[in-house]
Amino acid sequence: MYDLVIVGGGPAAVAAGVYAARKKMATLLVAEGFGGQSIVSADIHNWIGEKSISGVALAERLEAHVRGYEPAIEIWTDRVESVALASVSPRSFSVVTKKGKTVEARAVLIASGSRRKRLGVPGEDKLDGKGVAYCSICDAPLFGGKDVVVVGGGNAGLEAVVDLHAYAKTITLLQRSEVLRGDPVTQEMIRAWGNVHIIFNAAIEEIVGESFVSSVRYKDAKTGASNLLAAEGVFVEIGSMPNSDIVKGFVELDEIGRIQVDPRTGRASSLGIWAAGDVCDGLYQQNNIAAGDAIRALLNIYSYLHSGK
């Protein structure tokens, strides 16, 4: 019986893991890998304490930090498939992993993060990897001299434009609303580049192509006109979906599937379950916030395990 199972390997899970180990809680951390979604960032400028760090370097540091506490904390490279109530009194949970292990714990912290949202338009599945890309830093060099489209005007979309700028001939950023949501610093940078075009109020209708992408059809939400844009690459950066399936039907989720937590404690609706980071219904998805929220949850877990409150 563990005191705590931590699900995930991003900044939230690692922060909680470090604190749990220092508090000598019998803790198991289960993660497929470390670093979270930022691992694909070329350059992170807002991880506090680092003026600039690549996503891979941040992932390596996070992993090294928590592994520094092995074997006080146990770490499995595996994926949690389900969490269920094992016993009501004393309260405990059974956690089942993809590799077929089942463990019991008195408390569970879900820090499983979120995954990329897909467009859900015709052509996207068929042309996935054939011009449709979800990792700009990985695939940008393959689009040298080509016309490409980036979908999404948040920070991830703007970063994709930056990644592609060194290679692509032209970059058209399609944004569903009338404004870009990404950081003004990056907005100003990309607006100054001659080969970047921004189209607002653009709703993607279809990705067109036989064996590879040839164009993108989008609708102008204002005029209702359907436009065809020639492009060989489509980089999709439209946000994320929570990885909350493991507790679906067990704790309360909001309308888009995020775990509802008490913002003061990080507690989910079922006593003994906490959640932190992008899997929760917080307002902002940030590495620093995820780490802080997880630490708050961990401290609350500690007091729950020791005083029952």
């Binding site: 996503g55 990897g129 990985c138 695939d139 940008a140 590879f212």
Partner: protein, 113 residues
Amino acid sequence: MADVVARGIAVSMPFSALFFNVLRAFPGAGIIHRMKSVTVYSTPTCVYCKLAKDFFAKNGVAYTEHNVADDLKARAEMVEKSHQLGVPVIDIGGEVFVGFDKDALSKALGIAG
């Protein structure tokens, strides 16, 4: 060789192409090497390529790397093998993997990972 074919591949590919790749991977007329030949198609900035290469290094797996950002011949070869443009593409003795899937690669290499 039958062993390799029987395992199948991670992406759909015409049988003839698979056979061609297996032949290319095992030029010694069906001799199965203990260590299969491993080829990584990558770009210099690709995160999952780096994770894959780190994984090979950690497990003492020798591999040949092609930078498909610059090497257009290798890029064409990668597209021919995987029918897509994303990196990394990893060829382990004729089995073609798109992306970095540690479990699948471990299985193909017959290592614990």
